[in-house]
Amino acid sequence: MTDEVAAAVAQAHRREWARVFAATVRLTRDFDLAEECTQDAYAQALQTWPQNGIPARPAAWLTTAARNRALDLLRREATLRRTLPLLAMDDAVPTPEDSLDDDRLRLVFTCCHPALSRETQIALTLRLVCGLSTVEVARAFLVPEATMAARITRAKKKIATSRIPYRVPSPDHLAERVGAVLEVVHLVFTTGHTAPVGASLVRRDLVESAISLARMLHLLMPSDAEISALLALLLLIDARADTRVSASGRLLLLSEQERARWDRRLISEGVGLLTDALRRKPPTRYAVEAAIAAVHAEAPTWAETDWSEIVGLYDVLRGLWPSPVVELNRAVAIGFRDGPQAGLDTLAPLLADPALATYPYLSAARADFLRQLQQWTPAAVAYEEALTLTDNEVERAFLAGRLAEVRAHSPM
């Protein structure tokens, strides 16, 4: 029973934290107090549920417990709180016909307000919306816990004193504000998908936080094509999660991955979402990225990958989202379509781009083209360069293996 309760509480924490916390904020108008009360509610669940059983609707139970705790504290501390700045929110009674009336959306838009820096938006979203502890957020972004705690405290103070409103933006600002939220979700995902530093390739906690955020946004704003496209992208990429590293811990390239183990359920969900997004709106950045992932997901084997289609999609993407990194990826796709010399020629102009000066994947891509062309010495130099720029240990091991391989051929 205790194990079962512990699992139920853990699951409710993962799935319902945002709902419980956001509803409590509405009452307290103060993030710190709401955090305290939400944590209390989960602690109370651990004590009460073994005796009284797991409630049929855990989120409702937890919300009631957190709000009761808040009311209790508010009554006791009424005089003290008069001096604190409270969150700015509309007093209007929520109207049921307003589909965007959800406290979780208020919370997300507040955490991702443009008056907060991008890294602050990310930290607040992980802490307040996903319910990660400060220690977990600090670990994810490789900063000391004290630094992360200070950043989060400062951000909460700025929200209160500058009165960043606890509100879903008006329709004329919604698209732009959704864009900022999606960038936060995407950055959380990419940071988790290939950890910038460390012993493991993936930070599963961040990947899962990003996907659950995207799912929540999609649930709350189902007609937003941009959200559907981002969720599709994340699911299509994550479908390959289990096949990216071998049993012995070696990095497996897309060409080496065991496609039978790709998650078909996630792929068909992603393709469905993408199809729906494309029906609603002309392709956007995330939709095109998802389309590229879908081409890979649907290719029965590596050899049957439709590289012309992929190059064509990168051509569309560079129009929508001009970036030297898109150019690099397009060059790699051209290399697969037209051969390594064509790829090498396409990425040549990128070598002078200062934005890619310390970008390890440019060196790694160049090294691989040179390796295929059996230009062993320049290939070795390029692998060495990639190694000095890479801090993820799984990627380093892969590059070191390739370097040894080309050095064996190289006269030097």
Partner: protein, 167 residues
């Protein structure tokens, strides 16, 4: 690595952005890009729950000094339009004489008052003027302040600072 172009893209494409995440205290600055709008009409009137904000207009004084009469006129018309849109939310506001007209007071080593000619901070961008506003929240202020011509001036910008509420 090259063999996994999708991994490339997703794991790394935006690495140039994700790198910013690990910088502990780099403030990327507020990205105000709010379109002009009538900010929440009707909300202001009758709301007692208001806060004060200072709008600090910073810019390159040389460029302000080099404006033609017509440019100057357009600037003043834009400020008049801002004041009309903000209505009773404007509590005060003035244009300031150039920083070189300033006089700064500090303490000298002997504990007396040292008077110096010029601004406190001698920078290329100087404080050129201010407004004191009253508003319900930051979104309302951003929507209004985005109409100020200095936001769109290139060399200039507007900083929004909440005023300390002493209760």
């Amino acid at each position: 690595m090259r063999g996994d172009p999708v991994k490339h893209r997703i794991g790394t494409d935006w690495r140039e952005m994700s790198v910013q995440i690990v910088e502990p205290d780099v403030d990327l600055g507020p990205a105000f890009s709010v379109e002009d709008e009538k900010a929440h009409p009707g909300r202001h009137d009758g709301r007692t729950d208001m806060a004060k904000y200072m709008l600090l207009i910073h810019g390159d004084e040389q460029q302000w000094g080099a404006m033609t009469a017509a440019e100057r006129q357009a600037l003043e018309a834009a400020h008049a339009a801002f004041r009309a849109a903000a209505g009773s939310r404007v509590i005060g506001g003035e244009e300031l004489e150039p920083a070189s007209m300033g006089t700064t007071l500090r303490v000298d080593p002997s504990g007396g008052v040292l008077t110096t000619d010029g601004p406190f901070l001698d920078t290329k961008e100087a404080l050129g003027g201010y407004y004191l506003l009253e508003a319900a929240d930051l979104d309302e202020v951003i929507a209004l302040a985005a109409q100020l011509p200095e936001v769109h001036g290139g060399h200039s910008g507007v900083e929004i600072r909440p005023v300390v509420n002493h209760g």
